[in-house]
């Protein structure tokens, strides 16, 4: 490419220069930079939806005869460790209720999976157990949206029924607040 007199062979030089420029352009141009702001919007929408659903599930629908609020659906599900009921309510009653279609057609994937965990405080430490775990097929790992986490403190009158052996031993049988944490992601 270079003569003894340090001169370029012109044609090869031009070709090489063009190839280098083109390569640089293609490499840089094909990299789409996903800014934190863009990610935030999708996450924020899903997080808001999850937060609203937990709030609604934790709001009693009516007063009892003694004019005290009824036990909320969420408190009832945690108190009885109703795993399928939680998923059916969270996803089936709110997110994807049959017959209810969003007015906006581009409102995102309707396939949302959830995993719910209950955190409680033992005498000495913070412990948790799974309220609902999704089935084995978690969707496509390479094309999944990032997950969001929503939480709500729920009042429990005592130790829930139906707990697994470890949580059953560790949880106090007293009125307490437990943190319900739901991880949501689109598949």
């Amino acid at each position: 490419m270079v003569k003894d007199g340090a001169q370029l062979y012109t044609m090869e030089g031009i070709a090489a220069g063009l190839i280098m420029l083109l390569t640089t352009y293609l490499v840089l141009g094909s990299t789409s930079v996903y800014t934190p702001g863009d990610t935030h919007i999708t996450d924020m929408q899903l997080e808001q939806v999850g937060s609203d659903i937990l709030k609604i599930m934790d709001t009693p629908r009516n007063l009892t005869n003694s004019l005290r609020p009824n036990q909320s659906d969420l408190a009832l599900m945690v108190n009885t460790t109703d795993q399928q009921g939680f998923n059916t309510s969270f996803v089936g009653t709110y997110l994807n209720k049959p017959g209810i279609s969003a007015e906006a057609t581009q409102s995102g994937s309707s396939r949302i999976m959830i995993k719910a965990t209950v955190w409680f405080r033992n005498q000495s430490s913070l412990q948790s157990y799974q309220l609902y775990a999704p089935p084995g097929n978690l969707g496509n790992f390479s094309a999944r949206e990032p997950g969001v986490r929503v939480t709500r403190l729920v009042h429990l009158s005592g130790k829930p029924t139906g707990l697994g052996p470890i949580a059953s031993v560790n949880m106090r049988n007293k009125p307490q607040e437990a943190l319900v944490e739901v991880l949501m992601w689109q598949v």
Partner: protein, 403 residues
């Protein structure tokens, strides 16, 4: 360069390539930054989010006086000064500053059905896209000058009443291709109602017809209804929520009481043997509602009824049934009633006029004709948490699209 100042061809070619490359690079740079530019949707998503928060978490706001004409109506008995925004009439629409649907500021996600009905009333609010006086743009999007496109849709997830079709209401335009969006899940608080059966075996049957007047009262006690131990989502707030009371089975108490049973009400063949009501020549066919009055403090002398809108329906189950709107303060034209009276009272506001609030009691009296036939009805029905139907909170989905 040589001494003769002539450029060599090599240098010329090299310089040309350099310049061309520079031009190409300068052209490429902006397109390389496309990925870093904000997408056009971000701004709209933010506006949609903000609008969703205002609708779902805020009760809205209204000034005490008309922005256009000043506070001219304050102090008058019919002042609209401090009413919640959903009770403003068309003349006071300009006083509405912000359209929020929440029951109160401490009940986010719990919406009032009365605010919802008024919000989606496009005969009241201007929904025309191109209009410079579009109400939703100025009172909800806070952009009277920038012409955002918008769509607000609310639909039920659980029905308002069993068997009723799902509610779906919408304002704005159809969604275009690209838009900002937020979806909120909400609970909807509905109004209360009560049904009173005045069957002659019940407590509301007068024992004789020698009373001064045949009158049935509905007792609204603010001290009970505004009990502070009851949270806002479940409170019966008659200053903000209309209520309906249905009085049925009036035909069973015409000339008929538990103490002095009259066979006439059920059988005209025994008419002649009826000693309790010898002056009556014909079996009764209907009662006559002669007046509706209010009793401030539940004990004071009666005053003409006063409410925004009072709808009186008689015998809705019969072909002869009818509905009329009663204008405040005017005497009622006596009205024949066969069996049922349904009274819908819009919010009892302002409290200064009729003395109904959390410290005061109010009775609504339905006065029946005391001449023949006697409507042997008496007593007072307490409109409280135990005696009325309180619909459960129903779930809904609110969507806001902005473009």
């Amino acid at each position: 360069m040589r001494d003769s100042a002539q450029l060599p061809v090599d240098f010329l070619v090299g310089f040309t390539i350099f310049i061309l490359s520079l031009i190409m690079v300068a052209n490429f740079v902006p397109s390389l930054l496309v990925g870093l530019q904000r997408t056009t949707g971000i701004d709209y998503d933010a506006v949609a989010y903000r609008t969703g928060v205002v609708l779902v978490e805020d009760p809205g706001e209204k000034t005490g006086c008309d922005l256009g004409t000043g506070c001219v109506d304050l102090g008058k008995p019919d002042s609209q000064g401090f009413r919640p925004w959903e009770q403003a009439d068309i003349y006071h629409k300009n006083e509405i500053l912000r359209l929020g649907l929440a029951v109160s500021s401490n009940t986010p996600n719990i919406l009032s059905i009365n605010k919802i009905n008024r919000f989606f009333d496009t005969t009241f609010f201007n929904d025309q896209f191109d209009s410079t006086t579009n109400d939703y743009r100025s009172k909800l999007l806070f952009s009277p000058t920038y012409q955002y496109g918008y769509n607000v849709t609310l639909q039920n997830i659980s029905p308002m009443k069993a068997g009723e079709p799902a509610l779906k209401m919408s304002v704005g335009q159809p969604y275009p291709a690209g838009y900002g969006y937020i979806r909120r899940y909400v609970l909807i608080k509905q109004n209360t109602n009560a049904t009173v059966n005045v069957n002659k075996t019940m407590a509301f049957n007068a024992v004789s017809d020698d009373q001064v007047k045949q009158e049935f009262r509905i007792r609204l006690d603010g001290r009970i209804l505004y009990n502070r131990s009851i949270d806002n989502p479940y409170k019966i707030d008659l200053l903000r929520e209309p209520f309906t009371i249905r009085i049925t089975n009036l035909s069973s108490v015409l000339n008929n009481s538990a103490k002095n049973p009259s066979p006439i009400a059920n059988s005209s063949s025994q008419w002649a043997t009826n000693f309790n009501y010898p002056a009556e020549l014909l079996p009764p066919t209907n009662a006559t509602l002669t007046n509706i009055v209010f009793y401030p403090s539940c004990t004071a002398p009666s005053i003409p009824f006063y409410a925004d809108r009072m709808n009186l329906t008689v015998d809705p189950e019969l072909p002869s049934g009818s509905t009329q709107i009663l204008p405040s303060g005017t005497p009622l034209t006596p009205l024949p009633v066969v069996n049922t009276i349904e009274l819908s009272v819009d919010p009892l506001w302002p409290p200064g006029v009729i003395l109904f609030d959390e410290y005061n009691c109010l009775e609504i009296g339905l006065v029946f004709q005391n001449n023949l036939p006697h409507t042997l009805v008496t007593g007072s029905f307490l409109y409280d948490y135990t005696n009325v139907t309180r619909p459960s909170l129903s779930t809904g989905m609110l969507e806001v699209g902005i473009w």
